[in-house]
C-alpha cells in the first residue's frame, strides 16, 4: 500500500515531464535495439563463417603421411648411443597412404561414446583430361551417406542430386570451378588419369560448390568404391578416417589419444583452424563493446534527465519531506522513475531489436562463394535479449542511483528558506 503510493507519485512526476522522459526512454530503446541487432547479425555472420569451415571439417582426422622415418638404423646401435649422429639426404621409403587395419579402427571408434559419427575417405591425386590438356585435381572418395549426415554434403551440391553419386556406378560430382574449366555438363562423361597412369571414364552427376573457390577448381567427389577402383586398390583401402565428436572442445586431447592408440597421424579441428576461433572471438568482442558503449551513453542520458528533473522538483521534494515523506521514500520515488524509463525503453528496444534483426534476415545476400545462403545471416540467440534486458536495468539503476541519492538528501529547510 505504501509502495503503491510511492509508485503513483513516481508516475505523476514522470508523466508531468513525459516528453523529456520519452527522450530518455528512446535513448535506451535505441541502444538496446542496436545492441540486439548488432550482436544477432555479428554472431550470425560468425556462425556462417565458422560453419564454412567447421561444418565441413572433421573434429579429428586420422591419416597416414609419407615422411622419412624419425629413427634411423644408427640410432639403434649401442656404441653410438651417446653421440650426435648426422645422416643427410634421408628419403621416405615407399610407403602407402593407406590406414592399415582401418576396419578394426572404425569398429573401435564406433563404440567410443564420445564419437558422434565416422566417415571414411580416400584422397586420390588425379589429372582431369580435357582434350590434350591435363588439369591437376583431387578426387575425394567418400561414403556418401555418412558424409552427408556429418558434413552436410548435399548442401554444397548445387546441381544434380548428391545421392546419385552412390547409386550411379563410376560417377563423379565435379567442383564447380573444375567443371567450368572442362566445359562439361551434367550427364557428360569425363576421363581422369591417376598418378600411376591408370585411366578411367567417369560420369558427371552433379556440381559441388564449397564457397572456397580455389578448392572448387581442384576438388571432386566420387564414392569410395569408384575411387578404390580408380586407384586399383582393394575394397579395404582407405586413407582418412574422419571423426565427428559430440563435444568439439575435447578434439585436441582426443586426437592425441587416437594417434597413440592407433599409431597413425592425427589432426584436430582446433589446431587446424585456430585462426577462425580468434576471428570469431574478436568480432564478438567488438560487438559487445559497441553495444555496451551505446547502453552506457543511454545511461548518461537518463542520468542527465533525472538530474534535471530533481533540480526542477526541488520544491516538491521539500514539500514531500516537510509533510512526512522520508529520504528513503524520495529515493525510491526517483529510482522507480529511472527503472520505469529503463523497463519501458528496454522492452521497446528488445522488440525493435528483434524487428531489425528480422528485417536484416530478409535482405537478400547472394554470393557465389556461399551457395546455401540466400539472405543475411542472423542468430536469434535468446542470450542477447537476456543480456540486453539485464543490462538496460543495470544501467538505468546506476544512472538513477546518484540523482536519487541526491534527491533523498535534499534539506527541505534550505529550499523553503530559499523562497
Amino acid at each position: 500500500m505504501k509502495f503503491s503510493l510511492l509508485l503513483s507519485i513516481s508516475k505523476s512526476l514522470l508523466l508531468a515531464r513525459w516528453s523529456q522522459t520519452l527522450v530518455a526512454a528512446i535513448g535506451v530503446t535505441f541502444s538496446i535495439a542496436m545492441f540486439i541487432t548488432l550482436l544477432s547479425f555479428m554472431t550470425g555472420l560468425n556462425d556462417l563463417l565458422d560453419g564454412l569451415i567447421l561444418n565441413r571439417t572433421p573434429h579429428v582426422r586420422l591419416y597416414n603421411e609419407i615422411q622419412a622415418s624419425k629413427v634411423q638404423p644408427i640410432d639403434y646401435y649401442a656404441k653410438y648411443k651417446n653421440h650426435y649422429n648426422f645422416v643427410s639426404s634421408v628419403k621416405p621409403k615407399n610407403e602407402r597412404l593407406e590406414i592399415y587395419n582401418n576396419a578394426a579402427i572404425i569398429n573401435t571408434l564406433k563404440k567410443d561414446s564420445r564419437v558422434l559419427g565416422i566417415a571414411p575417405k580416400i584422397t586420390a591425386q588425379v589429372f582431369y583430361n580435357v582434350g590434350a590438356i591435363d588439369l591437376t585435381g583431387v578426387i575425394n572418395g567418400i561414403d556418401v551417406e555418412a558424409e552427408n549426415k556429418l558434413f552436410f554434403f548435399s548442401n554444397y551440391v548445387t546441381a544434380g542430386n548428391y545421392i546419385d553419386l552412390k547409386n550411379t556406378p563410376n560417377s563423379i560430382i565435379l567442383g564447380k570451378g573444375a567443371a567450368e574449366k572442362m566445359l562439361t555438363n551434367i550427364g557428360d562423361v569425363i576421363q581422369v588419369t591417376t598418378t600411376k597412369g591408370e585411366r578411367m571414364q567417369l560420369k558427371v552427376v552433379g556440381y559441388f560448390q564449397s564457397g572456397l573457390q580455389d578448392l572448387d577448381k581442384v576438388q571432386s567427389y566420387a564414392s569410395i568404391k569408384t575411387t578404390q577402383k580408380l586407384l586399383g586398390e582393394s575394397n579395404s583401402y582407405i586413407t582418412d578416417i574422419q571423426v565427428k565428436l559430440n563435444d568439439i572442445n575435447i578434439a585436441p586431447a582426443t586426437a592425441i589419444e587416437y594417434k597413440n592408440l592407433f599409431n597413425v597421424e592425427s589432426i584436430d579441428i582446433k589446431t587446424a583452424n585456430s585462426q577462425f576461433e580468434t576471428g570469431s572471438f574478436v568480432r564478438s568482442l567488438i560487438s559487445y563493446a559497441v553495444g555496451i558503449t551505446l547502453l552506457i551513453v543511454a545511461g548518461f542520458g537518463i542520468y542527465n534527465i533525472l538530474n534535471m528533473m530533481i533540480y526542477d522538483k526541488m520544491d516538491s521534494i521539500a514539500i514531500l519531506k516537510a509533510t512526512g515523506f522520508s529520504g528513503r521514500d524520495v529515493n525510491i520515488i526517483f529510482i522507480v522513475i529511472a527503472l520505469s524509463i529503463g523497463i519501458f525503453g528496454g522492452t521497446l528496444g528488445l522488440i525493435f531489436g528483434f524487428g531489425f534483426s528480422a528485417l536484416i534476415d530478409q535482405i537478400p545476400f547472394n554470393t557465389a562463394s556461399l551457395p546455401t545462403i540466400k539472405t543475411y545471416p542472423i542468430n536469434y540467440n535468446p542470450k542477447f535479449y537476456i543480456i540486453g534486458a539485464v543490462f538496460s536495468l543495470i544501467t538505468t539503476y546506476m544512472a538513477g542511483y546518484f540523482p536519487s541519492r541526491k534527491a533523498s538528501k535534499i534539506d527541505p529547510v534550505i529550499i523553503i528558506r530559499g523562497k
Binding site: L5, L320, T323, G327
Partner: protein, 224 residues
C-alpha cells in the same frame, strides 16, 4: 492544566557560515493543547529558524525539544519524518502545493503516507477538510488553476488531513492581500475555537497576533 504538545529546553542554534553566530539563545517555551499562539519579532530575529527546529526539519541545534512529551534528540531521519507526518501540520508562506497532482490528491498525500485509513477514507476526510475551508468545489482542479488565497487554504487543508497535534505556520498570510489574509486568519481562529486545534503561527502582522491566545515576542534570538 492541559497537555503540553511542544516544550523546549534551552534551545540554541548557531550558524557557522560565513562566520559563527548565535541565532537562537536558550529558548524555553511551550504550547499546550488547543492553544493558538503567535510568534512575532523583527525581521532576522530567528522566528523561522525556531519554527524549523520545532517542526523537526532542522536537527542541528543544542538543547532539547519535546513533542507530545517525547524527546526529539538522536532520532533517525525516518522517525522524524513519521512524527512530522502524524503530529505536525505545516503551512508555508508560499503555498507549496505539488503541481503534478490535483487539489484533492495534494490534500490526501500525507494521509496516504500515514496509511492509517484506507484510500477511500482518506479521500472522504480530504473532502471534509476542504469543506471546512470552503473550497470543496475546487477539489478536482490543478493547483495552478487556483488563486493565491485558495492555494493557501488547500495547504491548510493538507496540514489538517492527519488530525495533527499542532499546526505550524511561517507567515502563512504574508503573501496574501488583506481580504484573503483575513479569511485565512478566521479559519485558524475557527480551528482553534471549534476544533480545539493547537496552532503556532509566525507573523509580522501585529493585528493578527493580538487576536491570538498568546503572543511570543522574540528579539535577537531570545524570547522577551
Amino acid at each position: 492544566m492541559s497537555k503540553l504538545i511542544i516544550e523546549t529546553k534551552n534551545i540554541s542554534k548557531f550558524f557557522h557560515d560565513p562566520m559563527t553566530m548565535q541565532v537562537l539563545k536558550d529558548i524555553n517555551m511551550n504550547v499546550t493543547q488547543g492553544e493558538f499562539v503567535s510568534v512575532i519579532g523583527r525581521s532576522g530575529c530567528g522566528k523561522s529558524t525556531l519554527l524549523y527546529i520545532l517542526s523537526t526539519m532542522d536537527t542541528d541545534y543544542d538543547g532539547e525539544l519535546f513533542i507530545d512529551g517525547v524527546s526529539m534528540k538522536k532520532r533517525k531521519e525516518s522517525e522524524l519524518a513519521l512524527i512530522r507526518n502524524e503530529k505536525i501540520g505545516f503551512v508555508f508562506q508560499f503555498h507549496y502545493l505539488l503541481n503534478e497532482f490535483n487539489v484533492l490528491k495534494n490534500v490526501m498525500l500525507p494521509g496516504l503516507k500515514l496509511g492509517k485509513y484506507s484510500n477511500k477514507e482518506v479521500e472522504a476526510r480530504a473532502y471534509e477538510k476542504l469543506k471546512i475551508l470552503g473550497i470543496e468545489n475546487e477539489a478536482l482542479k490543478m493547483p495552478n488553476q487556483l488563486s493565491g488565497g485558495q492555494k493557501q487554504r488547500v495547504a491548510i487543508a493538507r496540514s489538517l488531513i492527519n488530525d495533527p497535534l499542532i499546526i505550524m505556520g511561517d507567515e502563512p498570510t504574508g503573501n496574501l492581500d488583506k481580504k484573503n489574509g483575513d479569511i485565512v486568519f478566521n479559519i485558524f481562529q475557527e480551528l482553534s475555537s471549534v476544533y480545539n486545534q493547537a496552532l503556532l503561527i509566525v507573523t509580522h502582522d501585529n493585528e493578527f497576533a493580538s487576536k491570538t491566545n498568546r503572543i511570543i515576542e522574540m528579539e535577537d534570538g531570545k524570547i522577551i
